[in-house]
Symmetry: D2
Subunit: 411 residues, 4 copies
């Protein structure tokens, strides 16, 4: 169980770290500052400068061979193991737009994986290719406003079969990335067979984003932010037609596709959260060592040594657990690795929230202001505690795996 | 130690609760939605509709005799005890603009207290009177960007004495309310005697907000929000003149004024945070009882019963501690009550954050979206953990009070 | 809601405190050291010196009028309210045998309450009188080895009706106090009607401890200790006869008696636990202020200020919650007060464990040794987390009370 | 960074696990039950049956080649890496006497390491050889009653140089194993040069346990237990002579020896604590799946799924951190590995306490009784939070290592 950095990854990680801090970080704030400056006033239109920033950075990354790291075991990607990728994703987590720059951003990576594994040759040509090139973006359309989406069997958007294929009706929300005008394709889960067994009710479809009948009702806010231009959109589907060949894998197999898709996506979020925790701890230490109160360095006041130690221990443990889950995926496959993925899915966001919270606290007002990245980290990481399944559901999975050791019954 | 509701307060609380839910809550969202709609495009200008909402609600509150509750033991206020006020403030905490509607909002209450206790007759006439009438607003100008303001002796904005009075030079930030054009007066702490004993270095001044030389550099952001039109402004003072009669209490007595001001302010924040926790727990229960997953009500899944019980116990204890601190203030004065104020200052925001966090989690994505008040509660309460002194400083005060029981030495 | 000390209690508390520290504490260790020194070698026989210690102290307490405080609202006791009693019980909690010295020890107080409320005149004469005089002791016989006693409806010891009364068969364990040879009477819960509704299956009986057919199988150990001479015995009942007049309240009403008995007992344990936490925090502070390491007082190292503050805040809150639960009992009765009793039943032991744990830690090895009372406190308080109902059951009660606010359904 | 089980260790672990459960566990309770049954009445004399149990088991272990695993990289041991040993120590932790059976018990392993690294040929012949053969036992004599031993520079037992060698005077306590009559040799830290630099004041000596002038004052109690026959003794040294050749490594180098000794010892305790946590979680699951209350399996009540999941995640993370610390020791040496050893030294006992606590709670009274091993685990693991350095000192080390990344100053 080698969880360390391979020589190959050591070299790549150094390059990624350098590019993140030297090229991407300086432009990240400018990218953010451009939001809302499109002549149309539409916050979900990218400005010319935003497009330029992204194109320049992507070109630079690609030129350096820093591209599509997430695509494990494949000719198209770098053939890195998930363990290896973890070390790189951690670095990318430290700055907002970095993951996209290396073409490793959500939800595209998960969607590309769906196309790669389950897509038809036509899907691969039309969608996978430009996605791998970073030319278009995509969205994964699953969560719905009316039901508890933590239980995916609740998904209710209707897909009715017709002579020409399928017709979709219903609403979806929290569709991340659907605000971006570059988002060209959706992978959408819909209910095709409401009477079937709960794991056979749904099917997964490919849907061009400009298909008629799709309406953006509003952007969902994340702690008051619309996260433009990416966005988390609330969509309405009215008689939206899907071609028969855009059904993925087969009717009633939507749940299967969803499960296959989610493993890697979940762990990638965790890797990046660990990177953010590292960055927050660095900011904590630097602030505490340079600021003074009551005639002492802040680091020498109160419980700060204990807090720093606790942060270090929690980061260290979360990283090791993340690496083990990655190693399980690499060696046993996503299905067997599931309880470990659930473990890190619970652990990493909670840990990162704690570290960021402490870092904010030591900064006082600065910690929640625009003068550090901590405030944005705190609210963004908070969303991971229910995105891709709330903590409670993942804890349940871990417990069931544990209890199965002692029982022949189904648990 | 009667911590219960007096008959008088039972009646007032019912009226406040009713007005908050029936009159204020419905208009609160509209008030927020108006932000940024001023013809000038300036988010820090109130629109006509905003002014109308506030005026209507204030008039209604005043007509009902629901006004200036915070002003204890005084002819000008309601003469309520702090314990009594706690039950009312809790209700006001549940909706954003409610405290202002009853003329009980920060930072005005603290500033009015300064005028009441330490102001000259001229100060009372010019500033206290319109503040008590809710005609103007005010700001308290203390925190500075360059120093750890958790240690108030660090305050460094220079006040130089001249023939005509004082001249101020320096920067301040996180000046809450200074964005609002109705903010007419500042109470400002400045360093007059850098060589004096650390508690005699500072003086407190009254300063009309439109005095020349005051420049708004930028609004500080709270988790990415500018909190317009209230705002938390970063200000620069360049050769700002203060009249000699606008020195409060006396040269070198700024620290004393600051201490006297902070006790009530701190506990008012706590009372409102408890109200928010109550509201969050209510939302938790209602959501968990009506939403289903895995064929069960969410409340019957996972650890939800335990979570609800823990929230109830923590709210109950925090409220009792808050009431005891209030009772100490009422019976022993703010100075003796200090360690209890510090206790509740630590306890209430942490408790409220925990309850709101759980309520968010049970709501899934809805919990962090614009569809519930939880997201705004979470980020706003978070600021209380360092506003008016970070947790660490208050814990230190509590510990020192404890250790003094066993020592004759100065601790 | 007056939760303060009345003048009467202020005086009594001072007397109790003085007697505990001056008379009882010095003899407590000697009492403990006598365990096992009976000539028979039987650890569950009191030595002459043990009897002498108890008799002397009890006589002293009674002579001072410090007796039967727990008996609220009655001619036989002191007529204190539960709130008043709380302040006295806290003092008694600080030393092992103190509660018994003031005739306020468990399980006698609960049993006396059963006799007082539900006993026949003959029961009162034969058992209640000598118990009130501290001449005999008693046991409450409920928990069983074979079933989860957290759900009292599981109780299975059989009581079969015969012509001469009842015949008991089965096992009971964790019968506290049944080891003491002075224990003269049992109150025992048995199943009389297995087919009845779950709350009507059981009946409560009075049983002289020397009735034939009762066998002590073994003492149950508490973290390896037999707690002699008190003991927590595992008993077997073989054809044990009970007279018809020794059925309490009525057939099938055992559950009702049990519920009535438990409220006060539960809160008394909590009051004493709070006293122990106070004592532990005192030991913490004194140790930390006098011991040195790394050239500093220990109190000035690490997070000790924060730990002390947290302990103080948690004690303060638990005490207030305990007093509120007591006030609810006094003003609304045990039944309405139930959710508050459950709250403090969860909160007080957890809080006391935390404070004692921190006090142990600052003492290093001394903290777990025979040189401080901390080790014994830690293990004894730990038992309170399931005695009289485990935390989980009490949390469930609190949550149900909360949810009932929002539902007409039975929860 | 291979943290997995090597094929060699997989095989050894299976053998150890089998021997622990099939041979050792059945005799462990009998060994305990024999304590105090020596004809002399002396609890610190082993009975014939105790000796027989140990001899039989040791012979069996040795015959199977399950011996001296701890001795890494050496001809005398098995040459296992620390990572490999971790998997075996975990198994040994599950039953009280198991570590001794495999000759892997504390404090002998640490003492053997001192002899191996720093001992003279005569030391190796006289003491190391029989220790490696499991024929004698040893004690490590460091902690003192009068000073905070968390700061080893406080150690004050006097070693005065004379013409014939050294003379020791002073007291030591918590000398684990010194109660056992088979304990033949002490390694003792004494102050030789009180005026020297704090890290050069002490020297380490070898001392036959039967040297005149050594007096056992009392056994220290661990939560009321004397842990006979092993014991944790309080010793007085009166003019105890040490031969000049029994000074280890050199005058003033005691601190160095102590540091070298402690790394492996600390991590071994952690490995065993992880094994205990695993066992506790197993007991938790089995109990919760077989016991019923309120018509449900206990596992389906309350927060039990969440608790089980949290336990699994915490065990998993602690094990990984322990393995990483072991790997650091293997690859970088004890000195560089120090911050990682400190990390796991804090993490493992806290984690194990939490898991054991939850397991106790789900067992109700049984959990703290003689009917499960949980009560003994809980109190024993608690001692690890200050043995070999309290948590606070280890957290301080971790924080200092962290801060050093950002500073050139000495921290």
């Amino acid at each position: 169980m080698d969880l360390g950095m391979t020589p190959r990854v050591k070299e790549l990680a150094a390059k990624v770290r350098q590019m993140v801090s030297e090229e991407i970080e300086p432009l990240d704030a400018e990218f953010e500052a451009e939001v809302g400056k499109h002549p149309s006033g539409d916050r979900f239109q990218l400005t010319d400068r935003q497009l330029e920033i992204l194109d320049t950075l992507k070109a630079s990354a690609r030129a350096k061979g820093l591209w599509n790291f997430w695509l494990t075991d494949s000719d198209k990607g770098q053939g890195l193991s998930t363990v290896e990728y973890a070390y790189l994703a951690e670095e990318m987590g430290k700055v907002g737009i970095a993951a996209e720059v290396f073409n490793c951003g959500a939800p595209d990576t998960g969607n590309m994986e769906v196309f790669e594994r389950y897509g038809s040759p036509a899907h691969k040509e039309r969608w996978l290719k430009p996605l791998l090139n970073g030319e278009i973006r995509s969205a994964y359309v699953m969560t719905e406003p009316g039901v508890a989406s933590s239980d995916a069997t609740n998904i209710a958007l209707e897909a009715r079969e017709t002579a020409e294929g399928w017709v979709l009706n219903g609403e979806k929300y929290w569709i991340s990335g659907a605000g971006d005008p570059r988002c060209a394709v959706y992978i959408i889960m819909a209910q095709t067979d409401p009477e079937a067994h709960k794991h056979a009710r749904h099917s997964m479809f490919v849907l061009p984003a400009d298909t008629p009948g799709i309406e953006i009702l509003r952007p969902m806010h994340v702690f008051g932010h619309d996260d433009a231009p990416h966005g988390h959109m609330h969509l309405r589907f009215t008689n939206v037609h899907v071609a028969p060949e855009d059904l993925i894998l087969g009717r009633g197999r939507g749940f299967e596709v969803a499960q296959g898709r989610l493993g890697p996506g979940r762990i990638h979020h965790c890797m990046r959260a660990i990177g953010q925790a590292e960055k927050a701890l660095e900011l904590f230490c630097k602030r505490a060592m340079t600021r003074e109160a009551f005639k002492k360095k802040i680091v020498d006041l109160g419980a700060n040594y204990d807090i720093i130690a606790n942060c270090r221990m929690e980061i260290e443990m979360a990283r090791l657990l993340c690496l083990k889950a990655a190693w399980m995926m690499d060696t046993q496959g996503t299905r067997v690795a599931q309880p470990w993925i659930s473990q890190i899915k619970v652990v990493a966001p909670l840990m990162a929230l704690k570290v960021v919270d402490e870092a904010m606290q030591v900064h006082g007002g600065t910690g929640i202001s625009q003068d550090t990245p901590l405030a944005a980290m705190w609210t963004k990481i908070r969303t991971l505690r229910f995105a891709d399944g709330p903590d409670a559901v993942h804890r349940r999975q871990v417990a069931r795996a544990e209890l199965r050791k002692y029982s022949n019954e189904k648990i």
